[in-house]
Protein backbone atom coordinates (compact mmCIF):
# COMPACT_ATOMS: atom_id res chain seq x y z
CA UNK A 1 0.00 0.00 0.00
CA UNK A 2 1.12 3.53 -0.57
CA UNK A 3 2.22 5.42 2.47
CA UNK A 4 -0.10 8.40 2.54
CA UNK A 5 2.16 10.40 4.82
CA UNK A 6 5.16 10.02 2.55
CA UNK A 7 3.00 10.83 -0.43
CA UNK A 8 1.92 14.09 1.17
CA UNK A 9 5.53 14.90 2.09
CA UNK A 10 6.54 14.30 -1.47
CA UNK A 11 3.71 16.41 -2.87
CA UNK A 12 4.36 19.27 -0.45
CA UNK A 13 8.10 19.34 -0.99
CA UNK A 14 7.91 19.03 -4.75
CA UNK A 15 5.23 21.70 -4.86
CA UNK A 16 7.67 24.02 -3.12
CA UNK A 17 10.56 23.17 -5.42
CA UNK A 18 8.51 23.61 -8.58
CA UNK A 19 6.90 26.77 -7.26
CA UNK A 20 10.31 28.36 -6.83
CA UNK A 21 11.25 27.31 -10.35
CA UNK A 22 7.96 28.54 -11.79
CA UNK A 23 8.18 31.82 -9.91
CA UNK A 24 11.60 32.41 -11.43
CA UNK A 25 10.32 31.49 -14.90
CA UNK A 26 7.31 33.74 -14.45
CA UNK A 27 9.60 36.63 -13.51
CA UNK A 28 11.79 36.07 -16.56
CA UNK A 29 9.22 35.00 -19.13
CA UNK A 30 5.85 36.18 -17.83
CA UNK A 31 7.01 39.61 -16.74
CA UNK A 32 10.06 40.35 -18.87
CA UNK A 33 9.40 38.09 -21.85
CA UNK A 34 12.66 36.11 -21.87
CA UNK A 35 11.77 32.46 -22.42
CA UNK A 36 14.53 30.89 -20.35
CA UNK A 37 14.82 27.51 -22.00
CA UNK A 38 17.95 26.87 -19.96
CA UNK A 39 16.07 26.83 -16.66
CA UNK A 40 17.30 23.36 -15.77
CA UNK A 41 20.91 24.56 -15.92
CA UNK A 42 20.33 27.01 -13.08
CA UNK A 43 18.36 24.42 -11.16
CA UNK A 44 21.29 22.05 -11.66
CA UNK A 45 23.71 24.76 -10.55
CA UNK A 46 22.12 24.71 -7.10
CA UNK A 47 21.87 20.94 -6.86
CA UNK A 48 25.41 20.41 -8.17
CA UNK A 49 26.76 22.92 -5.67
CA UNK A 50 25.17 20.90 -2.89
CA UNK A 51 26.39 17.64 -4.40
CA UNK A 52 29.94 18.90 -4.67
CA UNK A 53 30.10 20.65 -1.30
CA UNK A 54 27.74 19.19 1.30
CA UNK A 55 29.42 15.86 1.89
CA UNK A 56 32.91 17.37 1.74
CA UNK A 57 32.04 20.12 4.19
CA UNK A 58 30.26 17.60 6.39
CA UNK A 59 33.20 15.22 6.60
CA UNK A 60 35.49 18.13 7.29
CA UNK A 61 33.31 19.43 10.15
CA UNK A 62 32.90 15.94 11.56
CA UNK A 63 36.63 15.32 11.30
CA UNK A 64 36.14 12.21 9.20
CA UNK A 65 39.16 11.14 7.17
CA UNK A 66 38.26 10.56 3.55
CA UNK A 67 39.66 7.42 2.02
CA UNK A 68 39.09 6.24 -1.50
CA UNK A 69 37.61 7.85 -4.55
CA UNK A 70 34.94 10.52 -4.26
CA UNK A 71 32.89 8.73 -6.90
CA UNK A 72 32.66 5.43 -5.08
CA UNK A 73 32.67 6.61 -1.49
CA UNK A 74 30.44 9.68 -1.41
CA UNK A 75 27.28 7.74 -0.57
CA UNK A 76 29.04 5.99 2.28
CA UNK A 77 30.45 9.19 3.73
CA UNK A 78 27.22 11.08 3.35
CA UNK A 79 25.59 8.46 5.58
CA UNK A 80 28.39 8.95 8.08
CA UNK A 81 27.89 12.70 7.97
CA UNK A 82 24.14 12.25 8.39
CA UNK A 83 24.83 10.26 11.56
CA UNK A 84 27.07 13.06 12.76
CA UNK A 85 24.36 15.64 11.95
CA UNK A 86 21.88 13.61 14.02
CA UNK A 87 23.67 14.84 17.11
CA UNK A 88 25.03 18.14 15.72
CA UNK A 89 22.14 20.27 14.43
CA UNK A 90 24.18 23.48 14.34
CA UNK A 91 26.78 21.96 12.07
CA UNK A 92 24.01 20.64 9.86
CA UNK A 93 22.44 24.07 9.54
CA UNK A 94 25.84 25.58 8.91
CA UNK A 95 26.41 23.23 5.98
CA UNK A 96 22.94 24.06 4.69
CA UNK A 97 23.52 27.81 4.98
CA UNK A 98 26.92 27.69 3.31
CA UNK A 99 25.76 25.56 0.40
CA UNK A 100 22.66 27.70 0.02
CA UNK A 101 24.65 30.90 -0.26
CA UNK A 102 27.24 29.38 -2.57
CA UNK A 103 24.50 27.96 -4.79
CA UNK A 104 22.55 31.21 -4.96
CA UNK A 105 25.66 33.20 -5.81
CA UNK A 106 26.72 30.61 -8.37
CA UNK A 107 23.24 30.70 -9.90
CA UNK A 108 23.22 34.49 -10.01
CA UNK A 109 26.61 34.58 -11.72
CA UNK A 110 25.49 32.03 -14.29
CA UNK A 111 22.37 34.16 -14.82
CA UNK A 112 24.46 37.22 -15.47
CA UNK A 113 26.58 35.26 -17.93
CA UNK A 114 23.38 34.08 -19.64
CA UNK A 115 22.13 37.63 -19.88
CA UNK A 116 24.95 38.36 -22.28
CA UNK A 117 23.42 36.29 -25.10
CA UNK A 118 19.93 37.12 -23.80
CA UNK A 119 20.46 40.75 -24.65
CA UNK A 120 21.79 40.14 -28.09
CA UNK A 121 20.03 37.14 -29.52
CA UNK A 122 16.66 36.43 -31.01
CA UNK A 123 14.54 34.28 -28.68
CA UNK A 124 15.03 31.08 -30.65
CA UNK A 125 18.82 31.42 -30.89
CA UNK A 126 18.88 32.19 -27.20
CA UNK A 127 16.76 29.13 -26.47
CA UNK A 128 19.03 26.73 -28.33
CA UNK A 129 22.10 28.35 -26.77
CA UNK A 130 20.71 27.94 -23.27
CA UNK A 131 19.49 24.39 -23.91
CA UNK A 132 22.91 23.44 -25.21
CA UNK A 133 24.71 25.13 -22.32
CA UNK A 134 22.52 23.22 -19.88
CA UNK A 135 23.24 19.96 -21.64
CA UNK A 136 26.98 20.58 -21.54
CA UNK A 137 26.75 21.35 -17.83
CA UNK A 138 24.93 18.04 -17.32
CA UNK A 139 27.47 16.18 -19.46
CA UNK A 140 30.27 17.71 -17.42
CA UNK A 141 28.56 16.58 -14.22
CA UNK A 142 28.19 13.09 -15.56
CA UNK A 143 31.71 12.71 -16.90
CA UNK A 144 33.93 14.50 -14.45
CA UNK A 145 33.80 12.18 -11.45
CA UNK A 146 35.43 14.36 -8.76
CA UNK A 147 32.69 17.00 -9.25
CA UNK A 148 29.49 15.19 -8.36
CA UNK A 149 30.42 11.54 -8.68
CA UNK A 150 29.87 11.15 -12.42
CA UNK A 151 27.39 8.50 -13.49
CA UNK A 152 27.20 7.14 -9.94
CA UNK A 153 25.87 10.40 -8.56
CA UNK A 154 26.79 11.78 -5.20
CA UNK A 155 25.35 11.29 -1.73
CA UNK A 156 23.97 14.30 0.10
CA UNK A 157 23.94 14.22 3.89
CA UNK A 158 20.63 14.62 5.69
CA UNK A 159 20.68 18.09 7.20
CA UNK A 160 17.54 17.39 9.19
CA UNK A 161 18.90 14.14 10.64
CA UNK A 162 18.74 15.68 14.11
CA UNK A 163 14.96 15.99 14.00
CA UNK A 164 12.97 13.16 15.60
CA UNK A 165 11.81 10.51 13.15
CA UNK A 166 8.44 11.38 11.70
CA UNK A 167 8.93 15.12 12.12
CA UNK A 168 11.90 15.16 9.81
CA UNK A 169 9.75 14.76 6.74
CA UNK A 170 7.51 17.59 7.90
CA UNK A 171 10.72 19.55 8.28
CA UNK A 172 11.50 19.11 4.61
CA UNK A 173 8.03 20.24 3.65
CA UNK A 174 8.38 23.29 5.87
CA UNK A 175 11.79 24.08 4.45
CA UNK A 176 10.61 23.76 0.88
CA UNK A 177 7.36 25.64 1.34
CA UNK A 178 8.92 28.49 3.28
CA UNK A 179 11.49 29.10 0.55
CA UNK A 180 8.71 28.79 -2.01
CA UNK A 181 6.58 31.31 -0.16
CA UNK A 182 9.48 33.72 0.03
CA UNK A 183 10.19 33.32 -3.70
CA UNK A 184 6.58 33.82 -4.61
CA UNK A 185 6.27 36.90 -2.41
CA UNK A 186 9.34 38.37 -4.06
CA UNK A 187 7.75 37.70 -7.43
CA UNK A 188 4.43 39.16 -6.34
CA UNK A 189 5.92 42.26 -4.81
CA UNK A 190 8.09 42.97 -7.81
CA UNK A 191 5.32 42.19 -10.25
CA UNK A 192 2.92 44.64 -8.62
CA UNK A 193 5.43 47.45 -8.28
CA UNK A 194 7.00 50.01 -10.57
CA UNK A 195 9.77 47.48 -11.16
CA UNK A 196 7.30 44.96 -12.58
CA UNK A 197 5.72 47.71 -14.61
CA UNK A 198 9.05 48.47 -16.21
CA UNK A 199 9.55 44.77 -16.97
CA UNK A 200 6.19 44.50 -18.72
CA UNK A 201 6.85 47.70 -20.59
CA UNK A 202 10.12 46.23 -21.88
CA UNK A 203 8.35 42.98 -22.74
CA UNK A 204 5.58 44.77 -24.66
CA UNK A 205 7.60 47.38 -26.56
CA UNK A 206 11.32 47.26 -26.10
CA UNK A 207 12.18 50.35 -28.12
CA UNK A 208 9.51 52.50 -26.50
CA UNK A 209 10.70 51.40 -23.07
CA UNK A 210 14.30 52.28 -23.93
CA UNK A 211 13.14 55.63 -25.25
CA UNK A 212 11.42 56.25 -21.94
CA UNK A 213 14.62 55.66 -20.04
CA UNK A 214 14.69 51.95 -19.29
CA UNK A 215 18.15 50.45 -19.45
CA UNK A 216 17.12 47.17 -21.02
CA UNK A 217 20.48 45.51 -20.60
CA UNK A 218 20.44 46.19 -16.90
CA UNK A 219 16.90 44.96 -16.38
CA UNK A 220 17.62 41.72 -18.20
CA UNK A 221 20.75 41.21 -16.20
CA UNK A 222 19.02 41.85 -12.90
CA UNK A 223 16.08 39.62 -13.68
CA UNK A 224 18.21 36.76 -14.97
CA UNK A 225 20.50 37.04 -11.96
CA UNK A 226 17.56 36.98 -9.56
CA UNK A 227 15.64 34.29 -11.46
CA UNK A 228 18.71 32.09 -11.72
CA UNK A 229 19.56 32.50 -8.05
CA UNK A 230 16.00 31.43 -7.26
CA UNK A 231 16.30 28.39 -9.51
CA UNK A 232 19.57 27.48 -7.81
CA UNK A 233 17.86 27.67 -4.41
CA UNK A 234 15.23 25.28 -5.73
CA UNK A 235 18.09 22.98 -6.72
CA UNK A 236 19.54 23.14 -3.20
CA UNK A 237 16.26 22.12 -1.59
CA UNK A 238 15.69 19.41 -4.17
CA UNK A 239 19.17 17.97 -3.59
CA UNK A 240 18.81 17.82 0.21
CA UNK A 241 15.34 16.37 -0.04
CA UNK A 242 16.37 13.66 -2.51
CA UNK A 243 19.49 12.81 -0.51
CA UNK A 244 21.58 12.48 -3.66
CA UNK A 245 22.39 14.31 -6.84
CA UNK A 246 22.49 12.54 -10.17
CA UNK A 247 23.58 14.62 -13.17
CA UNK A 248 21.20 12.97 -15.61
CA UNK A 249 18.24 13.98 -13.51
CA UNK A 250 18.79 17.53 -14.75
CA UNK A 251 17.72 17.13 -18.34
CA UNK A 252 15.71 19.53 -20.51
CA UNK A 253 12.47 17.77 -19.60
CA UNK A 254 12.59 19.69 -16.32
CA UNK A 255 12.68 22.98 -18.21
CA UNK A 256 9.74 21.84 -20.27
CA UNK A 257 7.74 21.04 -17.14
CA UNK A 258 8.39 24.48 -15.69
CA UNK A 259 7.35 26.13 -18.95
CA UNK A 260 4.23 23.96 -18.89
CA UNK A 261 3.36 25.06 -15.36
CA UNK A 262 3.84 28.75 -16.11
CA UNK A 263 1.90 28.72 -19.38
CA UNK A 264 -0.84 26.48 -17.99
CA UNK A 265 -1.31 28.61 -14.89
CA UNK A 266 -1.25 31.82 -16.87
CA UNK A 267 1.94 33.68 -17.66
CA UNK A 268 2.03 37.32 -16.64
CA UNK A 269 0.05 36.68 -13.49
CA UNK A 270 1.84 35.64 -10.29
CA UNK A 271 -1.26 33.76 -9.15
CA UNK A 272 -1.00 31.69 -12.30
CA UNK A 273 2.16 29.99 -11.07
CA UNK A 274 0.46 28.92 -7.82
CA UNK A 275 -2.26 27.22 -9.82
CA UNK A 276 -0.08 25.91 -12.64
CA UNK A 277 2.26 24.08 -10.28
CA UNK A 278 -0.68 22.65 -8.33
CA UNK A 279 -2.36 21.34 -11.46
CA UNK A 280 0.85 19.78 -12.71
CA UNK A 281 1.62 18.07 -9.41
CA UNK A 282 -1.92 16.81 -9.17
CA UNK A 283 -1.85 15.33 -12.67
CA UNK A 284 1.62 13.92 -12.23
CA UNK A 285 0.78 12.19 -8.96
CA UNK A 286 -2.48 10.87 -10.32
CA UNK A 287 -0.65 9.32 -13.25
CA UNK A 288 1.92 7.89 -10.86
CA UNK A 289 -0.87 6.31 -8.80
CA UNK A 290 -2.46 4.85 -11.90
CA UNK A 291 0.77 3.02 -12.49
CA UNK A 292 -0.16 0.70 -9.66
CA UNK A 293 -3.56 -0.15 -11.05
CA UNK A 294 -3.31 -0.48 -14.78
CA UNK A 295 -1.02 -2.57 -16.88
CA UNK A 296 -0.10 -1.30 -20.29
CA UNK A 297 2.11 -2.80 -22.95
CA UNK A 298 4.33 0.27 -22.60
CA UNK A 299 5.90 2.33 -19.86
CA UNK A 300 3.32 4.69 -18.39
CA UNK A 301 5.97 7.37 -17.83
CA UNK A 302 6.05 7.87 -21.58
CA UNK A 303 2.29 8.21 -21.59
CA UNK A 304 2.66 10.92 -18.96
CA UNK A 305 5.18 12.78 -21.12
CA UNK A 306 2.91 12.52 -24.12
CA UNK A 307 0.02 13.70 -22.01
CA UNK A 308 1.88 16.77 -20.76
CA UNK A 309 3.12 17.64 -24.23
CA UNK A 310 -0.40 17.46 -25.59
CA UNK A 311 -1.77 19.46 -22.65
CA UNK A 312 0.67 22.27 -23.35
CA UNK A 313 -0.29 22.26 -27.02
CA UNK A 314 -3.98 22.38 -26.17
CA UNK A 315 -3.42 25.26 -23.77
CA UNK A 316 -1.45 27.19 -26.38
CA UNK A 317 -4.16 26.57 -28.91
CA UNK A 318 -7.34 27.07 -26.93
CA UNK A 319 -6.42 29.08 -23.88
CA UNK A 320 -3.06 30.78 -24.45
CA UNK A 321 -3.66 33.14 -21.55
CA UNK A 322 -3.70 30.14 -19.17
CA UNK A 323 -6.01 29.34 -16.28
CA UNK A 324 -5.55 32.72 -14.62
CA UNK A 325 -4.97 35.32 -17.34
CA UNK A 326 -2.75 38.32 -16.95
CA UNK A 327 -4.44 41.44 -15.64
CA UNK A 328 -3.23 45.01 -15.74
CA UNK A 329 -1.07 45.20 -12.70
CA UNK A 330 -2.08 46.83 -9.48
CA UNK A 331 0.44 49.00 -7.80
CA UNK A 332 -0.66 51.71 -5.49
CA UNK A 333 -3.17 52.84 -8.10
CA UNK A 334 -5.65 50.37 -6.65
CA UNK A 335 -6.41 53.14 -4.21
CA UNK A 336 -7.62 55.49 -6.88
CA UNK A 337 -11.07 55.75 -8.26
CA UNK A 338 -13.06 58.07 -10.43
CA UNK A 339 -16.31 59.42 -9.03
CA UNK A 340 -19.37 59.93 -11.20
CA UNK A 341 -18.53 63.59 -11.67
CA UNK A 342 -15.22 62.50 -13.09
CA UNK A 343 -13.17 63.65 -10.16
CA UNK A 344 -10.23 61.67 -8.92
CA UNK A 345 -10.75 60.30 -5.48
CA UNK A 346 -8.58 58.29 -3.19
CA UNK A 347 -10.26 55.12 -2.06
CA UNK A 348 -10.08 51.44 -2.77
CA UNK A 349 -11.98 50.45 -5.83
CA UNK A 350 -10.74 47.07 -6.92
Amino acid sequence: MINLFLLLVDIGTMYGVFLILSASMELEYGELGIPNFGKVMFFAAGAFAVGALAVRLGTWLAGIQWQGEFKTKSILYSTAVSNYFATHPLQALLVFAVTLVVAAVFGAILGIVASYPAIRLREDYLAITLIAAGELFRIFGRNYDPFIGGTMGVGVPDILAWMPPGTKEAGYIALSLSFAAASWLILYRLSTSPFGRALRAIRDEELAAATLGKDIVKYRMKVLALGSAMAAVAGVIYAYYMGSVLADDFNPLKTFLVVLMVVLGGSGNPYGTLVGVAVYIFLDRTLALLKHYIILPFDINYAAMLFFGVILLLVLMYRPEGIIPERPLLTIRAKFCRTKEGKLEKRLCK
Binding site: I139, F256, L306, M317
Partner: protein, 303 residues
Protein backbone atom coordinates in the same frame (compact mmCIF):
# COMPACT_ATOMS: atom_id res chain seq x y z
CA UNK B 1 47.83 11.02 -40.13
CA UNK B 2 44.07 10.79 -39.79
CA UNK B 3 42.60 7.41 -40.52
CA UNK B 4 40.70 7.64 -43.85
CA UNK B 5 37.82 5.78 -42.23
CA UNK B 6 37.35 8.70 -39.90
CA UNK B 7 37.25 11.07 -42.82
CA UNK B 8 34.65 8.89 -44.52
CA UNK B 9 32.65 8.75 -41.32
CA UNK B 10 32.81 12.52 -41.12
CA UNK B 11 31.55 12.69 -44.70
CA UNK B 12 28.61 10.45 -43.92
CA UNK B 13 27.76 12.36 -40.77
CA UNK B 14 28.04 15.66 -42.63
CA UNK B 15 25.80 14.39 -45.43
CA UNK B 16 23.19 13.64 -42.83
CA UNK B 17 23.66 16.96 -41.05
CA UNK B 18 23.49 18.88 -44.33
CA UNK B 19 20.09 17.35 -45.10
CA UNK B 20 18.87 18.11 -41.60
CA UNK B 21 20.06 21.70 -41.45
CA UNK B 22 18.77 22.30 -44.97
CA UNK B 23 15.35 21.01 -44.01
CA UNK B 24 15.34 22.89 -40.71
CA UNK B 25 16.15 26.05 -42.63
CA UNK B 26 13.31 25.36 -45.01
CA UNK B 27 10.82 25.13 -42.13
CA UNK B 28 12.24 28.24 -40.48
CA UNK B 29 11.85 30.16 -43.72
CA UNK B 30 8.15 29.38 -43.82
CA UNK B 31 7.25 29.53 -40.14
CA UNK B 32 9.82 32.19 -39.20
CA UNK B 33 10.51 30.36 -35.98
CA UNK B 34 12.88 27.61 -34.95
CA UNK B 35 11.38 24.16 -34.71
CA UNK B 36 12.80 22.30 -31.73
CA UNK B 37 11.16 19.09 -32.88
CA UNK B 38 13.15 18.93 -36.10
CA UNK B 39 15.53 16.20 -34.95
CA UNK B 40 12.54 14.05 -34.06
CA UNK B 41 11.39 14.05 -37.70
CA UNK B 42 14.53 12.12 -38.56
CA UNK B 43 13.74 9.54 -35.91
CA UNK B 44 10.13 9.24 -37.09
CA UNK B 45 11.53 8.49 -40.54
CA UNK B 46 13.95 5.85 -39.38
CA UNK B 47 11.44 4.11 -37.12
CA UNK B 48 9.03 3.99 -40.04
CA UNK B 49 11.68 2.38 -42.22
CA UNK B 50 12.85 0.06 -39.45
CA UNK B 51 9.32 -1.21 -38.92
CA UNK B 52 9.13 -2.36 -42.51
CA UNK B 53 12.56 -3.92 -42.30
CA UNK B 54 11.83 -6.04 -39.24
CA UNK B 55 8.17 -6.80 -39.88
CA UNK B 56 7.79 -6.93 -43.65
CA UNK B 57 11.36 -8.10 -44.12
CA UNK B 58 12.19 -5.48 -46.71
CA UNK B 59 15.81 -5.01 -47.68
CA UNK B 60 17.29 -2.14 -45.70
CA UNK B 61 18.02 0.28 -48.52
CA UNK B 62 14.62 -0.32 -50.10
CA UNK B 63 12.96 1.38 -47.15
CA UNK B 64 14.60 4.71 -47.79
CA UNK B 65 11.56 6.17 -49.58
CA UNK B 66 9.46 5.07 -46.61
CA UNK B 67 11.67 7.11 -44.29
CA UNK B 68 11.05 10.07 -46.56
CA UNK B 69 7.33 9.47 -46.48
CA UNK B 70 7.05 9.03 -42.72
CA UNK B 71 9.15 12.11 -41.95
CA UNK B 72 7.25 14.14 -44.52
CA UNK B 73 3.80 13.13 -43.35
CA UNK B 74 4.61 13.76 -39.70
CA UNK B 75 6.01 17.19 -40.56
CA UNK B 76 2.92 18.12 -42.55
CA UNK B 77 0.71 16.99 -39.71
CA UNK B 78 2.69 19.14 -37.26
CA UNK B 79 2.31 22.08 -39.58
CA UNK B 80 -1.37 21.66 -40.42
CA UNK B 81 -2.60 20.60 -37.00
CA UNK B 82 -0.47 22.78 -34.77
CA UNK B 83 1.74 25.49 -36.20
CA UNK B 84 -0.63 26.81 -38.82
CA UNK B 85 -3.73 27.03 -36.57
CA UNK B 86 -1.60 28.54 -33.82
CA UNK B 87 -0.36 31.22 -36.13
CA UNK B 88 -3.86 31.91 -37.39
CA UNK B 89 -4.93 32.43 -33.79
CA UNK B 90 -2.27 35.09 -33.48
CA UNK B 91 0.32 33.13 -31.51
CA UNK B 92 3.54 35.10 -31.25
CA UNK B 93 7.07 33.99 -31.97
CA UNK B 94 7.76 32.73 -28.46
CA UNK B 95 4.50 30.81 -28.28
CA UNK B 96 5.33 28.99 -31.50
CA UNK B 97 8.71 28.19 -30.02
CA UNK B 98 7.09 26.80 -26.88
CA UNK B 99 4.73 24.79 -29.07
CA UNK B 100 7.68 23.25 -30.88
CA UNK B 101 9.17 22.30 -27.53
CA UNK B 102 5.89 20.63 -26.59
CA UNK B 103 5.85 18.81 -29.93
CA UNK B 104 9.37 17.57 -29.26
CA UNK B 105 8.37 16.19 -25.85
CA UNK B 106 5.20 14.60 -27.22
CA UNK B 107 6.95 13.15 -30.27
CA UNK B 108 9.70 11.56 -28.28
CA UNK B 109 7.11 10.12 -25.90
CA UNK B 110 5.19 8.74 -28.89
CA UNK B 111 8.37 7.17 -30.26
CA UNK B 112 9.15 5.61 -26.88
CA UNK B 113 5.65 4.17 -26.66
CA UNK B 114 5.94 2.94 -30.22
CA UNK B 115 9.27 1.33 -29.42
CA UNK B 116 7.71 -0.43 -26.43
CA UNK B 117 4.80 -1.65 -28.54
CA UNK B 118 7.10 -2.83 -31.31
CA UNK B 119 9.09 -4.87 -28.85
CA UNK B 120 6.01 -6.14 -27.04
CA UNK B 121 4.11 -7.21 -30.14
CA UNK B 122 6.86 -8.37 -32.47
CA UNK B 123 9.63 -9.29 -30.08
CA UNK B 124 12.23 -7.30 -32.00
CA UNK B 125 14.88 -4.90 -30.87
CA UNK B 126 13.22 -1.52 -30.80
CA UNK B 127 15.93 0.58 -29.21
CA UNK B 128 19.63 0.93 -29.93
CA UNK B 129 19.13 -0.89 -33.23
CA UNK B 130 21.60 -0.71 -36.07
CA UNK B 131 21.44 -1.28 -39.83
CA UNK B 132 23.84 -3.58 -41.61
CA UNK B 133 25.62 -2.20 -44.60
CA UNK B 134 27.23 -3.63 -47.68
CA UNK B 135 30.69 -2.79 -48.89
CA UNK B 136 31.47 -1.85 -52.44
CA UNK B 137 34.77 -2.40 -54.12
CA UNK B 138 35.76 0.72 -55.99
CA UNK B 139 39.05 0.52 -57.84
CA UNK B 140 40.30 -1.95 -55.32
CA UNK B 141 39.27 0.09 -52.30
CA UNK B 142 36.62 -1.23 -49.96
CA UNK B 143 34.00 1.46 -49.38
CA UNK B 144 30.96 1.24 -47.14
CA UNK B 145 27.69 1.43 -49.01
CA UNK B 146 26.52 4.24 -46.79
CA UNK B 147 29.32 6.49 -47.99
CA UNK B 148 28.07 6.12 -51.52
CA UNK B 149 24.36 6.09 -50.82
CA UNK B 150 24.36 9.08 -48.47
CA UNK B 151 26.55 11.15 -50.78
CA UNK B 152 24.46 10.30 -53.82
CA UNK B 153 21.28 11.01 -51.89
CA UNK B 154 22.48 14.46 -50.90
CA UNK B 155 23.42 15.24 -54.49
CA UNK B 156 20.13 13.92 -55.83
CA UNK B 157 17.97 15.66 -53.23
CA UNK B 158 19.80 18.96 -53.62
CA UNK B 159 19.41 18.77 -57.38
CA UNK B 160 15.75 17.95 -56.97
CA UNK B 161 15.19 20.87 -54.62
CA UNK B 162 17.12 23.19 -56.87
CA UNK B 163 15.08 22.25 -59.92
CA UNK B 164 11.88 22.50 -57.94
CA UNK B 165 12.69 25.93 -56.59
CA UNK B 166 14.28 27.47 -59.63
CA UNK B 167 12.74 25.79 -62.65
CA UNK B 168 9.11 25.11 -61.81
CA UNK B 169 6.02 27.19 -61.32
CA UNK B 170 5.69 25.73 -57.88
CA UNK B 171 9.17 26.98 -57.04
CA UNK B 172 8.23 30.51 -58.05
CA UNK B 173 5.13 30.30 -55.88
CA UNK B 174 7.14 28.91 -53.01
CA UNK B 175 9.78 31.61 -53.16
CA UNK B 176 7.09 34.28 -53.40
CA UNK B 177 5.19 32.82 -50.46
CA UNK B 178 8.36 32.79 -48.37
CA UNK B 179 9.44 36.27 -49.43
CA UNK B 180 6.14 38.03 -48.90
CA UNK B 181 3.17 35.86 -47.89
CA UNK B 182 0.64 38.70 -47.99
CA UNK B 183 1.61 39.72 -51.50
CA UNK B 184 1.72 36.12 -52.68
CA UNK B 185 -1.80 35.61 -51.38
CA UNK B 186 -2.98 38.60 -53.38
CA UNK B 187 -1.33 37.15 -56.47
CA UNK B 188 -3.48 34.07 -56.08
CA UNK B 189 -0.86 31.77 -54.60
CA UNK B 190 -2.24 29.34 -52.04
CA UNK B 191 0.34 30.13 -49.38
CA UNK B 192 -0.97 27.54 -46.98
CA UNK B 193 -0.59 24.80 -49.57
CA UNK B 194 2.88 25.97 -50.50
CA UNK B 195 3.97 26.01 -46.87
CA UNK B 196 2.49 22.59 -46.21
CA UNK B 197 4.41 21.26 -49.21
CA UNK B 198 7.60 22.82 -47.90
CA UNK B 199 7.02 21.08 -44.61
CA UNK B 200 6.45 17.78 -46.36
CA UNK B 201 9.72 18.17 -48.23
CA UNK B 202 11.54 19.25 -45.08
CA UNK B 203 10.15 16.30 -43.14
CA UNK B 204 11.08 13.97 -45.99
CA UNK B 205 14.66 15.23 -46.12
CA UNK B 206 14.89 14.83 -42.35
CA UNK B 207 13.48 11.32 -42.67
CA UNK B 208 16.17 10.37 -45.18
CA UNK B 209 18.83 11.76 -42.87
CA UNK B 210 17.30 9.73 -40.07
CA UNK B 211 17.51 6.62 -42.21
CA UNK B 212 21.31 6.99 -42.28
CA UNK B 213 21.58 7.14 -38.49
CA UNK B 214 21.49 3.40 -37.57
CA UNK B 215 24.34 2.67 -39.97
CA UNK B 216 26.60 4.78 -37.80
CA UNK B 217 25.23 4.60 -34.27
CA UNK B 218 22.64 2.63 -32.31
CA UNK B 219 19.36 4.47 -32.77
CA UNK B 220 16.81 5.19 -30.08
CA UNK B 221 13.81 7.51 -29.71
CA UNK B 222 15.73 10.24 -27.87
CA UNK B 223 18.39 10.57 -30.55
CA UNK B 224 16.37 13.29 -32.27
CA UNK B 225 16.92 15.59 -29.36
CA UNK B 226 20.61 14.77 -29.13
CA UNK B 227 21.26 15.71 -32.77
CA UNK B 228 19.28 18.94 -32.44
CA UNK B 229 22.27 21.01 -31.35
CA UNK B 230 24.52 20.20 -34.34
CA UNK B 231 21.55 20.76 -36.68
CA UNK B 232 20.95 24.20 -35.25
CA UNK B 233 24.63 25.01 -35.20
CA UNK B 234 24.80 24.14 -38.91
CA UNK B 235 21.68 26.09 -39.79
CA UNK B 236 22.70 29.18 -37.84
CA UNK B 237 26.23 29.00 -39.20
CA UNK B 238 24.62 28.90 -42.62
CA UNK B 239 22.69 32.05 -41.92
CA UNK B 240 19.30 30.50 -41.00
CA UNK B 241 17.69 32.00 -44.11
CA UNK B 242 19.91 30.49 -46.71
CA UNK B 243 19.47 26.98 -48.08
CA UNK B 244 22.94 26.93 -49.59
CA UNK B 245 24.36 28.27 -46.33
CA UNK B 246 22.63 25.49 -44.42
CA UNK B 247 24.28 22.83 -46.59
CA UNK B 248 27.73 24.35 -46.24
CA UNK B 249 27.08 24.80 -42.52
CA UNK B 250 26.19 21.12 -42.28
CA UNK B 251 29.53 20.08 -43.73
CA UNK B 252 31.56 22.48 -41.59
CA UNK B 253 29.84 21.44 -38.38
CA UNK B 254 29.88 17.75 -39.33
CA UNK B 255 33.58 17.60 -40.16
CA UNK B 256 34.53 19.78 -37.18
CA UNK B 257 32.55 17.60 -34.85
CA UNK B 258 33.91 14.25 -36.00
CA UNK B 259 37.50 15.32 -36.55
CA UNK B 260 37.55 17.56 -33.48
CA UNK B 261 36.22 14.85 -31.23
CA UNK B 262 38.74 12.41 -32.64
CA UNK B 263 41.72 14.73 -32.27
CA UNK B 264 40.77 15.84 -28.77
CA UNK B 265 40.37 12.26 -27.63
CA UNK B 266 43.92 11.40 -28.72
CA UNK B 267 46.98 11.93 -26.54
CA UNK B 268 48.04 14.32 -25.12
CA UNK B 269 44.57 15.74 -24.44
CA UNK B 270 42.65 12.47 -23.96
CA UNK B 271 39.36 14.27 -23.56
CA UNK B 272 36.32 12.05 -23.14
CA UNK B 273 34.29 11.80 -26.34
CA UNK B 274 31.26 12.57 -24.18
CA UNK B 275 32.15 16.24 -24.53
CA UNK B 276 31.47 16.04 -28.24
CA UNK B 277 28.47 18.45 -28.11
CA UNK B 278 30.94 21.13 -27.00
CA UNK B 279 32.13 21.39 -30.61
CA UNK B 280 28.85 22.36 -32.27
CA UNK B 281 28.11 24.51 -29.21
CA UNK B 282 31.35 26.39 -29.69
CA UNK B 283 30.62 26.85 -33.39
CA UNK B 284 27.17 28.12 -32.50
CA UNK B 285 28.46 30.64 -29.98
CA UNK B 286 31.25 31.88 -32.23
CA UNK B 287 28.83 32.28 -35.14
CA UNK B 288 26.30 34.18 -33.07
CA UNK B 289 28.95 36.49 -31.69
CA UNK B 290 31.09 37.07 -34.74
CA UNK B 291 28.93 36.41 -37.78
CA UNK B 292 25.31 36.64 -36.72
CA UNK B 293 24.15 36.70 -40.34
CA UNK B 294 25.90 33.38 -40.95
CA UNK B 295 28.39 32.38 -43.60
CA UNK B 296 25.81 32.86 -46.36
CA UNK B 297 26.21 36.59 -45.83
CA UNK B 298 29.74 36.17 -47.18
CA UNK B 299 28.53 35.22 -50.63
CA UNK B 300 25.01 36.52 -50.97
CA UNK B 301 22.62 39.12 -49.78
CA UNK B 302 19.75 37.58 -47.87
CA UNK B 303 18.45 35.18 -50.46
Amino acid sequence: MIDPNILLDALVYSNMLALLSLSLTLTIMTLKVANFAHGDLAIIGVYGAYTFIVIAGLATYLTMPLAFLFGGIYAVLCYLLIYSPLRRRGANFVMLMIASMAIDIATRALLQIYADLLKFNFKVYSRAFIFNDFTANILGVQVRGLVLVSSLSVIALLALLYILLMKTKFGVAMRAAIENPALAEVLGINVEKVYATSWFLAGGFAGIAGFFLPFRIPTSPDLGFIILLPIFAASILGGINSLSGAVVGGYIVGFSEILGTYLLSQPPINLSTAYRPAIPFTILIITLLLLPQGIASLWSRGD
